[in-house]
């Protein structure tokens, strides 16, 4: 049996070690690539979440199809709805948002209004009887004719600090649709100032 000369044997061993090191590097690279691609792949949530169009209170938020300006917020246990009786009472609170809306392209309705609290809880727009006939969710907005009115959400007022108003045109099939997203900017010490005995709802009307 022939034996390799020592220098050649050394070279073969060195080659083997290099190959092993290369394999380890390649395995690590492939793992990194797999994990990286996995993290970069959009999730169902990324595909379906509405696209936030951010704004602030007092300035118009311009989405491609409508503009929304939040003018102010009231909080109350009671709500008087124009042309409807009696005064509605809530076990939590009525948050009444005074707003101006106009469409930009064609007539539309705003069908989804929510307030997302700082802890992530979402409160849907109030659906008390008679409300839709007078608030902004029942109004048809026309291009470049601003309408002034109210949006109402029933939620505990102590959840308002850090809360964000979210308004969309569509209530369903709204994947990636623009969503006006406006932090209400209410601080804890401002809550008493916003509270009214009976919240006054402005009936929606073109201004």
């Amino acid at each position: 049996m022939s034996t390799l000369p020592p220098s050649l044997e050394e070279a073969v061993q060195r080659n083997g070690r290099q190959r092993k090191a290369l394999n380890v590097v390649l395995v690590i690279l492939v793992l990194v690539a797999i994990i990286g691609l996995y993290r970069l792949t959009p999730t169902q949530k990324d595909i379906q979440e509405p696209t936030a169009v951010k704004g602030i209170v007092g300035k118009p938020v311009k989405t491609p199809r409508f503009e929304l300006t939040v003018r102010g917020v009231q909080v109350s246990k009671k709500l008087r709805i124009p042309r409807a009786a009696p005064v509605r009472e809530s076990r939590s609170d009525f948050v009444v948002i005074d707003a101006v809306v106009k469409a930009t392209r064609e007539p539309l309705h705003l069908n989804k209004v929510t307030i997302q609290a700082a802890d992530g809880t979402r409160y849907a727009g109030a659906n008390r009887s008679g409300l839709r006939e007078v608030d902004l969710t029942g109004f048809e907005f026309a291009p470049d004719i601003p309408a002034h009115g109210s949006l109402v959400v029933e939620m505990p007022a102590d959840q308002l600090p850090g809360a964000v108003l979210q308004v969309m045109e569509k209530a369903i099939f709204n994947d990636l649709e623009p969503q006006a997203t406006i932090p209400l900017g209410v601080e804890k010490d401002q809550l008493d100032g916003l509270r009214k005995d009976v919240a006054i709802l402005t009936a929606a009307d073109a201004s």
Binding site: R105, P107, I145
Partner: protein, 203 residues
Amino acid sequence: MSSARRARPGWFRKNNLALLSLVVAVPLAGWWTTHTDYKSWYNAEPRDAVKVAAGGTQYADATWFAASVEVDPQPVRSTSVPDPLPEGTSRVRVYFRIQVDDVKKLDKLAGCQTHLRAPDGRIWDQANLEDEFQDRPTGCTGGYDDKPASFRDPKIAQHYLKPVAGKPYEIVAVFVVPTSVASSVEPTITWATRLPEYLAFPR
């Protein structure tokens, strides 16, 4: 006898037919899915105008004549006091003239929606609360009275009679639009079942 071995055909050569079919199938599948999505998006809105000629245009089994447009019209009753309009807006009244050869074909005109369209593509719906300015029926199928109704103003009662074959009848639509576009908007009529086509009435 030759001992040279012939080279075995490579993987690409063995699968060339399958690969060629992929070259055709992948773009075709891409085109097909994109095309159907594009088509449903395109057909969802009024995009293809059928322009109505002054002398009349045949469309949807009816003849459509040029529309007449009035900015800031007078109310039907001279005594009525209409609600003030929002600032910077104007009222626009449009009369459409339609004729059918057979009254049975009126059914095909049902479900029409009237709009005003600005040159930049903005659209306004008919105003629902402007009935003080409506002196004709508002639907494309025209009137529904068998004989002039006594409760209507005698000046307009004839417009509410059922349409007669071969004779034009009129319908009305009243709009509120920003004053800046009141002189440039064009009346249009759409049917959900006929999109993306729509009838356009040049002014």
